[in-house]
Amino acid sequence: MTSSESGGSTAQLASKLYDECLAKFPPDHLFYQQDLLGLGVVPKNDLGLLLQCTQWLVDQKLFRLLQGKNDRLSWKLISREDAEKLQSLSPDESLVYNVIHSTGRSGIWVRAIQNRTNVHKSILDRCLKSLEGKNYIKSVHNVKYPSRKMYMLAGLAPSEDVTGGAWFTDGVLDANFINTIATYIEYTVSRKSWFEVPSSDGPRNKRIKTSSGAAVKQDAEKEYLAFPPGYKGYPTVSMITAAVNESGLTPVRLGEDSIAQLCDVLCYDNKLVAINGGEFYKSTKNPEAVKQEQMRKESNQEPADTSRELVKNGMTEAPCGQCPVFKLCTPGGAVSPESCEYFGPWLEKALGF
C-alpha cells in the first residue's frame, strides 16, 4: 500500500518535475543534479526521492540519462510525443534507437551500432527494420563512404559531411547542377568585370540594320574595356552568392562556402581570376565571349574550329602529337615517317585538296 502510494506520489512528483524542467529550461538543456534540486520541486532536497523521480522519468522515456563532465550523472528532456514512441519499443529497439540518436546529424554505420550495443547481428537487423518501418529512423548515403550502410533519425537532415555539401544530390555529385550554376556565375561575374562602352555611334548601327539584316550582328558587337587597376567594383563571393540565390536556379539556398568552392573551380578552369587573394573575382573573358562559348557548348558537343585553335600548339596539331604509335616510330622501322598513315590525310585536310 505504502509502496503503491509512494509510487503514485513519485509519479506525480516526477511529472511535476518534468513540467517544471520543460517550462524553465530550453529543451536541449543538460540537467545536473543541482539544476533539478534548484527547481524546488523535490521537498527538502531529498536525494533519494530525486533519484526515484528521475528513475521513473527515465523509465517512462521522458528523461534521457547521460554522463556529463567528471563522470557526473546528467539528464536531458525528451518530448512527450517522442517518449510515447519510445515506450512502444522493445528494449533492444530502444537501445539501438538511443545509439542512433546519439550520433545526431552525422548518422552511424551499421557496424558501429553493433559494436556499441553488442547486439547480435540478426537482432540488430530486425530492430533496424522495425524502426525503419515505424519511420523513426532512415538510412542515409554518406559521400565519403558510399558503400557503408548508415542510419540516422528520420526527422533530421543529414549534415554537410554526410551529403558532401550543396553540390551533392542523394550522395551523388550533381554535375548538371554544378554546370548550370557555374555558367551562371561566369556570366554574372563577366558582366561586372568589363566596362561596356556605351554605343555612341548608335545611329550608324541603325542605318545598317535597315540596309541589310545580316550585317547587324557583326556591327552590333559591343566593345569592352578593362577597368583600371585597383578597381573595387569586381564582385565578391557574397555578391555572387546573393546573385545565385536570387536567380531561381537553385532549389536550396547555397551558402557562401559552396559558392567560394565553385569560384575556385572556375579559377582552375581559367574562367575567373581571383584578385587580392580571393577578395574579388574577375572573369577572363568579356560577356560577349562568354555567351558565345556557352552557346557553343550547349548547341554542339563538337567544338568549333576557331575555338580549337586556342588550345593548339605545334605539338598537338602535328600528326605525331596524337599518334598512338609515336614511341615506336623510327626511320626505316615498321612504323616510320615514310610509311606513316597519318601524314597524308593530315596534309590533305590542312591544305584542302
Binding site: S200, V265, N270, P337, L351, F353
Partner: protein, 651 residues
C-alpha cells in the same frame, strides 16, 4: 651529351641545309662525340680530301668545334649541337630583324648567318649587299637555307607561298636597286648596337668545356694563384676561370653605340614625329638629335657622329657573327607580348611592347644558368628597371592612352577623348593641340595605369618598383618564362584530354600532391570522370601516382595514393617528343620530295626556274603549287614546333 632525338634533328638540319658530306661528318661526330682526324676518317669512311674540305667549311659555319691539345698536339673535332639547331630558327630571326630594322638589315643578317661568321671587309665586297644592280640568284647553293626556313612564316599561310624559293634572294633583289652602297656600315652599327651581332673571338671555336679547361690551366699557372692552397685555391681558380672565359668569349660590340639606353639607329616605333614631341631633343646637341630623329632610311646620318662611334666596327678586319642569345631574348619578349595581346587592349599591349623593347636593350641573355633550373629552385630575377618616363618617351604620342581604360566609377559619364562627335567635326580626327600639351601629367599617369593593368593576375606581366622616389617598371623574366612553359603544357593537356583534365592539372599544380578524395572535393568532378581522366593522363605520362604506405607491410588497403604533376619531368619528356616530331616532319618532307623527284627536278632546271609560266603545262603548274603548299605546311609545322622548343629549352 645530347639526346638521341636532339642529335637526329640537328643532323637532319645540317643535311638539309648543307648537303650529305656535312651530314655525314656531323652525324659521325655526334655518334662518337669527340674525335681526332684519323678516327673520324675511319668512322665516317670519307677520304682525307673530303674531310679536310668538309671540316674547314663546317668550322667556318660554326657547326664543329675544334681543339688542339697542348700535350700531344692532336686536334679534336666536336659537333656543335647548339648552332646547328639554330639553323631552324634562322627564318624567324630574319623575320624579326626585318620587322624591327627593315629589309636591308635582314639581308645583311641573313648573309652573316649564311656565312656563319664574316669579316666586315668580306661583306663590303659582297656584290649583293653593295651592288646597284639586282642579282636574282646571288646565293645559289646556300640560298636554300633561307629559301626553306626563311619563308616559313609566310609559308604557314597556304596562300602566301608564291614567293617561296629564295626569300633571301627576293629580299636582295627587291632591295638592291635602291640600296646605296653606303648603307652597309650604318646597318652593321645598328645591328651591333642592338647586340644582334657580336665579334667572333678565338674561344668561340672551342667547346665550352675546352674553354673551361684552358682557362683553368691559364689561371693555375699564374704566380699569385700558385701560392694558394686547399680550399682557397679552388675558390680562386673557379672565380678567375669564369672571369677569364668571360673575357675571352666577350664579343660585345654595343660599347659606345648606345645612348640613354637606346641603341643607335633604333627605329622608334612611331617613326619620326612632327615638331611637337621632339622639342626636348632640340635642346640637346646634334649627335643625340641625329640619333633621335633618324628616319627609316637615314642611317647614313650615323656617319655624322662618327667620332663617337668606336672605330672597330669600321675596320674591315673585324669578324662578326650572329648573337643567338640576344635574339632569343628578343623572341622571348615577342612571346610575352603575344600573351599580353590575348587579354589586353591594343593600347595596353603597345605600351607593353615599348617597355619590353627598352628592357631588351639591356638584357644580354635569357638566363644565367646553362640549363633551365628545376621548378621551385629558381630564384626570382627581375629585368633591368625602366623608368616610367623612358616608357612614356617610347610610346607613340598620338596614341590615345586614356580612352582604352574604363572609368573607375561606372556612374560617371564615360567620355572618351577625341570621340566627342561635336568637337570631332570641327577639329578633325586628332586634335593634338589640347591633348598634347595640357595633359602631359595625365598621360604619364595613364601609361602607368596601363602598366599596372598588366601587373595584375593571372599573368603578372609587369611589376612596379620605386627606386629612390623614381617609379620604374620591370618584368619578372624567370616567372614569366615558367608561366610560358606551364601554359604550353596545359594547352597540350587540354587539347589531348579535354577541359576536365585541364582543371585537374591546374589543381594538382597549385596544390601539390593530393589523394583522390581530396582532389575530387576540390575539383567538384564526379568520381567516374575523374578516375577516367587521371588514368588516361597517367598513361600519357602527364600525372603520376605516389604510394605512401601507412605501415611496414605495404598492403594496398593501408596505403595512401597521391596524385601529382611534375612539370619538370614532363617538360623534359616533351622536349624530346618535340625534337622527334620535328625530325619526323622533315623526314616526311624528304620522302614527299623523293616521291615527286622527277617532276621537281624539272622545275628546278635552270631554264625552267623563274619561267615556270612559260615552260610548264597547266597541270604541272597546279602540281607545283600543291607541292609548294605541302612543303610550306610541313616547314611551318617545324617552325611552330621550334616555338615550343624555345619555350621549353631556351627561355
Amino acid at each position: 651529351m645530347s639526346s638521341q632525338y636532339a642529335s637526329e634533328i640537328c643532323t637532319l638540319l645540317v643535311e638539309d641545309n648543307f648537303g650529305e658530306l656535312f651530314g655525314r661528318i656531323f652525324s659521325t661526330l655526334l655518334r662518337y662525340n669527340r674525335l681526332p682526324l684519323p678516327r673520324l676518317k675511319h668512322y665516317s669512311g670519307l677520304s682525307e680530301r673530303q674531310l679536310h674540305y668538309g671540316l674547314a667549311a663546317m668550322i667556318q659555319h660554326r657547326l664543329v668545334f675544334h681543339y688542339t691539345a697542348y700535350d700531344d698536339g692532336i686536334t679534336y673535332y666536336e659537333a656543335n649541337i647548339q648552332f646547328s639547331y639554330y639553323l631552324v630558327r634562322s627564318g624567324k630571326i630574319l623575320e624579326f630583324i626585318k620587322e624591327r630594322l627593315g629589309d636591308y638589315a635582314a639581308a645583311v643578317m641573313s648573309t652573316i648567318m649564311l656565312l656563319g661568321h664574316a669579316q666586315i671587309g668580306y661583306l663590303e665586297d659582297l656584290p649583293e649587299l653593295n651592288a646597284h644592280h639586282p642579282i636574282s640568284n646571288g646565293v645559289t647553293e646556300e640560298g636554300d637555307v633561307d629559301g626553306e626556313y626563311g619563308s616559313i612564316k609566310e609559308a604557314e599561310d597556304p596562300e602566301g607561298q608564291e614567293g617561296e624559293e629564295g626569300q633571301v634572294n627576293g629580299v636582295n633583289g627587291d632591295y638592291a636597286p635602291s640600296g646605296p652602297s653606303g648603307l652597309l656600315h650604318p646597318t652593321l652599327k645598328t645591328l651591333a648596337a642592338h647586340g644582334y651581332i657580336t665579334r667572333v673571338r678565338e674561344a668561340h671555336f672551342q667547346s665550352y668545356s675546352d674553354n673551361v679547361l684552358d682557362a683553368e690551366r691559364a689561371v693555375k699557372s699564374r704566380p699569385e694563384v700558385k701560392q694558394l692552397k686547399g680550399k682557397k685555391l679552388e675558390e680562386a681558380v673557379l672565380e678567375k676561370t669564369i672571369d677569364l672565359i668571360r673575357e675571352r668569349t666577350d664579343g660585345d660590340l654595343t660599347h659606345g653605340l648606345v645612348f640613354n639606353g637606346v641603341p643607335r639607329g633604333a627605329k622608334r616605333s612611331h617613326g619620326t614625329e612632327a615638331d611637337g614631341p621632339n622639342k626636348k631633343s632640340r635642346l640637346n646637341y646634334d649627335s643625340v638629335d641625329g640619333d633621335e630623329d633618324i628616319e627609316e632610311n637615314e642611317w647614313s646620318d650615323d656617319e655624322m657622329v662618327g667620332d663617337v662611334v668606336p672605330m672597330q666596327l669600321s675596320k674591315s678586319g673585324l669578324v662578326v657573327q650572329v648573337n643567338y642569345e640576344k635574339l632569343d631574348v628578343a623572341l622571348r619578349n615577342r612571346r610575352f607580348l603575344e600573351l599580353a595581346e590575348k587579354d589586353a587592349s591594343p593600347v595596353t599591349s603597345h605600351i607593353y611592347e615599348c617597355l619590353l623593347r627598352r628592357i631588351e636593350y639591356q638584357t644580354r641573355c635569357c638566363r644565367d644558368t646553362a640549363e633551365i633550373p628545376r621548378e621551385g629552385e629558381e630564384g626570382e630575377q627581375y629585368s633591368a628597371p625602366i623608368s616610367l618616363t623612358a616608357v612614356v618617351e617610347e610610346v607613340d604620342p598620338k596614341l590615345d592612352v586614356a580612352g582604352s581604360i574604363a572609368p573607375k566609377d561606372i556612374s560617371q559619364p564615360f567620355n572618351r577623348r577625341g570621340k566627342r562627335p561635336l568637337e570631332d567635326g570641327v577639329n578633325g580626327d586628332h586634335h593634338e593641340g589640347p591633348n598634347g600639351v595640357a595633359s602631359e601629367g595625365n598621360r604619364i599617369f595613364d601609361i602607368d595605369q596601363h602598366l599596372s593593368l598588366l601587373a595584375q593576375p593571372p599573368y603578372n606581366l609587369t611589376s612596379k618598383r620605386t627606386i629612390g622616389g623614381l617609379t620604374t617598371w620591370t618584368v619578372e623574366f624567370r616567372y614569366l618564362a615558367r608561366k610560358l612553359r606551364h601554359l604550353e603544357l596545359e594547352r597540350m593537356v587540354e587539347a589531348r584530354y579535354g577541359d576536365v583534365a585541364f582543371r585537374v592539372i591546374r589543381i594538382l599544380h597549385a596544390k601539390g600532391k593530393l589523394d583522390e578524395k581530396r582532389l575530387q572535393e576540390i575539383s567538384l568532378l564526379p568520381f567516374k570522370d575523374l578516375r577516367q581522366v587521371l588514368a588516361l593522363m597517367q598513361a600519357g605520362g602527364f600525372v603520376d601516382l605516389q604510394e605512401v604506405p601507412r605501415d611496414a607491410q605495404r598492403q594496398p588497403s593501408r596505403t595512401i595514393y597521391l596524385w601529382y604533376y611534375d612539370p619538370d619531368r614532363i617538360r623534359a619528356g616533351m622536349l624530346e617528343d618535340i625534337y622527334k616530331t620535328m625530325s619526323r616532319c622533315l623526314q616526311r618532307l624528304r620522302f614527299e620530295r623523293s616521291r615527286m623527284k622527277d617532276f621537281l627536278e624539272k622545275t628546278e632546271r635552270s631554264d625552267v626556274k623563274g619561267n615556270e609560266m612559260r615552260y610548264l603545262s597547266e597541270a604541272e603548274l597546279k602540281t607545283l603549287q600543291q607541292w609548294k603548299a605541302r612543303e610550306a605546311l610541313l616547314l611551318g609545322e617545324v617552325s611552330r614546333l621550334d616555338d615550343m622548343v624555345a619555350v621549353m629549352r631556351d627561355y
